[in-house]
């Protein structure tokens, strides 16, 4: 099998044109970027607000857990059959799948901030929006990033499946290869998707290192407290729908 794969990957025709690897990668990144943009615009503010006020937390956790049970292939096919072909319906479906981990991560992150720290912030005279933006969000960053990474992986994976409902991206090779009984093409597509997912995740880890305050690096007492809290939130912070 490997020789056929190597042959596929080294065939220059597979790297050119509308069905070439670079184009498919760009398509894949475009779907991921667009869906994440929409999902971030929804998930971050809602999660932060619910986390700060504490109101609607049960609903957020419920929705996040409920949506995790939703089969993504089912959602994709329904959306495409209901709304028609084109870019918008699958992007909408990907957004729906990306929101829960973002929402859950942000919510859990904000809730996990030490209440004494929030109390001190308020006692020093910070206004509510200042408490949220200057204290809660920076301290929630590790868990927020956990949510962003989960959501991104989810979207990269589901975008692959979306090839089944006539979307482009690297999933095309898998779906087309299956239809043409061309296993080398399928395998090449699968490997490219896996590499893409891992690279994207690594990039996010790099960004996380830059964005998260070194004071939140896991060490000493604060780490033990943080871990026990994270454990309680485990049910909402890790997700994989795909």
């Amino acid at each position: 099998m490997w020789p056929a794969l190597v042959t596929w990957l080294t065939t220059s025709a597979h790297w050119q044109g509308a069905n070439g690897v670079p184009v498919r990668i760009l398509e894949h990144l475009q779907y991921t970027g667009l869906s994440m943009l929409f999902a971030l615009a929804i998930g971050l503010p809602v999660g932060a607000l619910v986390g700060h006020t504490g109101r609607g937390g049960v609903l957020v956790v419920g929705v996040a857990n409920g949506l995790r049970a939703l089969p993504s292939l089912g959602l994709l096919t329904i959306v495409v059959l209901g709304l028609g072909l084109g870019l918008a319906p699958p992007i909408a479906a990907l957004t729906v799948l990306a929101v829960p981990p973002l929402l859950a991560g942000t919510y859990a992150g904000i809730r996990a901030v030490d209440p004494a720290v929030v109390d001190a912030a308020r006692g020093m005279g910070m206004r509510e929006w200042e408490i949220l933006l200057k204290v809660e969000v920076p301290n929630a960053m590790p868990l927020i990033f956990g949510g962003i990474r989960s959501a991104t992986l989810q979207v990269v994976a589901t975008a692959t499946i979306a090839a089944d409902v006539a979307l482009g991206g690297l999933g095309r090779y898998v779906i087309d290869g299956l239809a043409q009984l061309d296993y080398a093409q399928m395998l090449a597509g699968a490997l490219l998707v896996a590499v893409l997912a891992i690279v994207v995740d690594l990039v996010l880890v790099g960004v996380q290192r830059l964005v998260v305050s070194p004071g939140l690096a896991e060490s000493g007492v604060s780490r033990r407290r943080a871990t026990s809290r994270r454990t309680r939130n485990a049910a909402v912070s890790v997700t994989r729908g795909n």
Binding site: R68, G74, L81, A194, V238, N242
Partner: protein
């Protein structure tokens, strides 16, 4: 949709059974594998880092990609259900190793020390003290793993084995949305019921968490 359902109860039931089997056998196997791995990870920092790194890596591979690659690694046919179950087992282990580590670290240090001081050997202490005390956190992890696994099975439909996912494929190609909706609802019900059963098992096995 209702008419279709009335004609196809048998199909929906048998697909649901298949779906549950495909989803939950990997969860059980994955759990059995994750416990010793998680225990190993609590033994040393280097081991923990390695295990987390490897499984974090595997976990980030999209399911469809894993499904396509596994036959080459396992020497199976591309349409063999083993591929799907192997993939789900791998994801379950990846997810549960973290839960097991969290769960074991949630056992208070005093309790572990007291057990050691009373003369428990490490293995005995693990099974009669640490593992029971980790049940609440373990169950939380298992719930996530089971629900994810149930929703993931459908992806297998693209490669011929997907339980209720077959309804999505079939409905899509026949342009019949009702069939897909029924498949989605059935899948959601399976996830919900499994989740409820796990919660119940967790409660029944930890009577001490409900007193005082």
């Amino acid at each position: 949709m209702i008419a279709w359902l009335n004609d196809h109860w048998d199909l929906v039931f048998s697909l649901s059974g298949q779906h549950l089997y495909l989803a939950l056998v990997p969860v059980v196997i994955g759990f059995v594998l994750a416990v010793p791995l998680g225990w190993l990870a609590t033994r040393s920092g280097a081991l923990r880092a390695t295990i987390f790194y490897v499984f974090g890596f595997i976990y980030s591979i999209p399911s469809l990609a894993l499904l396509v690659v596994l036959p080459v690694l396992l020497g199976t046919q591309i349409l063999d259900p083993i591929n799907l179950m192997a993939a789900l087992t791998i994801y379950t282990v990846a997810l549960l190793v973290r839960s097991v580590v969290d769960a074991l670290s949630s056992v208070p240090w005093e309790v572990r020390t007291a057990a050691t001081a009373m003369g428990f050997r490490p293995l005995r202490r693990f099974f009669s003290v640490e593992l029971p005390m980790s049940i609440p956190v373990l169950v939380a992890g298992l719930r996530v793993a089971a629900v994810s696994s149930i929703s993931l099975v459908s992806v297998g439909a693209l490669l011929g084995v997907g339980g209720l996912g077959n309804l999505f494929n079939d409905g899509f190609h026949r342009n019949f949305i009702g069939e897909i909706v029924i498949g989605v609802v059935a899948s959601l019900i399976l996830a919900l019921v499994t989740d409820a059963v796990l919660v119940l098992i967790g409660r029944l096995s930890t009577p001490w968490t409900r007193v005082g």
